[in-house]
């Protein structure tokens, strides 16, 4: 009987040892991953970037960004030279109040604005081509094809569904991925399309990453950081979360998922977790050299992230040591 407390202590220590040192890896699948910087755009001296927010890249290696501080959409060639700039502050076609998310699809750029409803469309030369009317604020979106856009709303009561809109902004259908209602913003997600009708979703204020099918049924769910609760603060009439668990999600050409960690990661806004898209198992982690608000991976598996608080854009090559893979730019 006297030994019972000792066993309990040992059991607790064993359990804690599983939780210490960050997320637990599936060892048989662990892949050492490194990144190597291959391009840097925007310095402290030039007037190239002031605070870039959204990013996209095309198949030829041209890079597009939205810049919130000078209300613009910018285009860079594969060597990082700025070859185009469009936009100014305003409410008219091709103008911005607070340009934000950016998606590239089939020669078209889709741009959201935090202070204006809808999605503006530009061609590769940054000419304004049209507008998709969307009446609600957009938290995240993905262009699935020329006539289908998956959109996550930023709204008080409908934070756990994806709306599929056509290119006129009309609703085609909804994918509800959670039935239980949560406090405001707690169900906010960023999404990536899996290419088979389903979605990978990363919760911004919860420790949860899920893969859902086209009906919203959960195929797998993963928690990496052991976060039970995030701090919330009352602001005006609302209580809002103030700690971010995950910041962004991106996919590479092999179907791996990359998740940028927020406040609870060992290196806040720098640690990137790589998961197997089929199973949700953690394959490895790597750390960005500077904090970033987002990550983006292009079709050639270059990873883009922010540096110098948005004054600089960095492009990295992903290096998988175990597989001895070399992605060629």
């Amino acid at each position: 009987m006297r030994k019972k407390p000792l066993w309990i202590v040992c059991g607790v220590l064993w359990f804690l040892s599983l939780r210490v040192g960050g997320p637990a890896f599936e060892k048989e699948e662990a892949v050492p991953i490194r990144i190597k910087e291959v391009l840097s755009i925007g310095s402290l001296e030039d007037d190239t970037l002031f605070q870039w927010v959204g990013i996209a890249a095309d198949r030829e290696g041209f890079i597009y960004v939205t810049d919130a501080l000078d209300y613009s959409l910018k285009k860079f060639d594969p060597d990082g030279r700025m070859v185009g700039k469009q936009g100014q502050k305003g409410q008219g076609p091709g103008e911005f109040q607070a340009p934000r998310l950016l998606e590239f699809h089939e020669g078209r750029l889709y741009v959201t604005d935090q202070s204006r409803p809808g999605i503006q469309i530009f061609d590769c030369d940054l000419n304004y081509r049209g507008h998709i009317p969307v009446l609600f604020p957009i938290s995240s979106f993905k262009v699935l094809d020329v006539n289908r856009i998956a959109v996550v709303k930023l709204e008080m009561k409908t934070g756990c569904e994806i709306e599929i809109l056509n290119n006129k902004g009309e609703e085609l259908r909804r994918v509800r991925f959670q039935t239980k209602q949560s406090p405001f913003l707690m169900d906010l997600v960023d999404l990536a399309a899996d290419g088979r009708g389903g979605y990978f979703l990363v919760y911004i204020f919860r420790d949860q990453i899920v893969h859902v099918d086209e009906t919203g049924a959960i195929l797998w769910a993963q928690s990496l950081l052991g976060v039970k609760k995030v701090k919330r603060k009352k602001m005006s009439e609302m209580t809002l979360p103030t700690e971010v668990v995950y910041k962004d999600i991106a996919l590479d050409s092999e179907g791996r998922i990359y998740v940028l960690g927020g406040h609870f990661s060992k290196n806040s806004s720098r640690d990137v977790y790589v998961l197997n898209g089929e199973t949700g198992r953690l394959l490895g982690t790597f750390t960005l050299p500077d904090t970033s608000h987002c990550i983006h991976i292009d079709e050639r598996d270059h990873l883009f992230a922010r540096a110098n608080d948005g004054v600089t854009l960095k492009m990295f090559k992903l290096l998988f040591s175990k597989e001895r893979r070399e992605y060629v730019r």
Binding site: L44, E45, D47, F50, Q51, D67, A68, L69, D70, Y71, S72, Q88, K89, Q97, A98, Q114, S115, N308, D309, G310, V311
Partner: protein, 170 residues
């Protein structure tokens, strides 16, 4: 309208002269000299508002409504950033924020001087967040407002500017 005592002016001005370290490049230097201690409208723009487009927009909206003569001749802004760290990052951060303000000023056609200051030198005077300070001419008070201004505050401030113009003070 809320106002504070004349004592704050004397507290405020020496601090301003000590900590105005980074005039923004886009403002001509002769304009800076012309404005020295002659401005009566001071905008304190907090760095945190650069992460909140709608907060920044409220300040820009207010600036747009200032009569041009007062804006050009009597207005200045200070760009408040957080105190620098000791590990050598202070210079890097200062340069980043300086660049951001330069881009913001150019994109919004800001035509009055802006300086960058560190919070350690200003928090006692400026309080939290972005603020508007008005120093009425021939008056011993400072009027202090927090952004966003209420509708009533905007009306009152606008009336004050109208009075200045009628009195030929612009």
């Amino acid at each position: 309208m809320r106002g504070s005592s004349i004592g704050q002016i004397f507290l405020f001005l020496p601090v301003l002269s000590v900590f105005l370290v980074f005039p923004i490049d886009s403002i001509p230097s002769d304009a800076v000299e012309k404005h020295e201690l002659s401005f009566h409208v001071l905008l304190v723009i907090d760095v945190s508002d650069f992460s909140c487009p709608s907060c920044l927009e409220l300040i820009v909206d207010f600036v747009r409504d200032i009569p041009s003569s007062i804006r050009k001749m009597r207005t200045a802004a200070v760009w408040r950033v957080y105190s620098p760290e000791e590990n050598g990052e202070s210079d890097l951060k200062s340069r980043i924020w300086h660049k951001k303000m330069r881009g913001f000023a150019a994109a919004n056609a800001i035509d009055f001087p802006i300086w960058m200051i560190s919070e350690s030198g200003s928090e006692a005077c400026f309080g939290d967040g972005s603020r508007l300070l008005i120093f009425p001419p021939r008056s011993g008070t400072v009027l202090s407002f927090s952004f966003p201004l209420t509708f009533e505050e905007r009306i009152n401030v606008q009336s004050l500017f109208d009075e200045w113009i009628q009195e030929g003070f612009h």
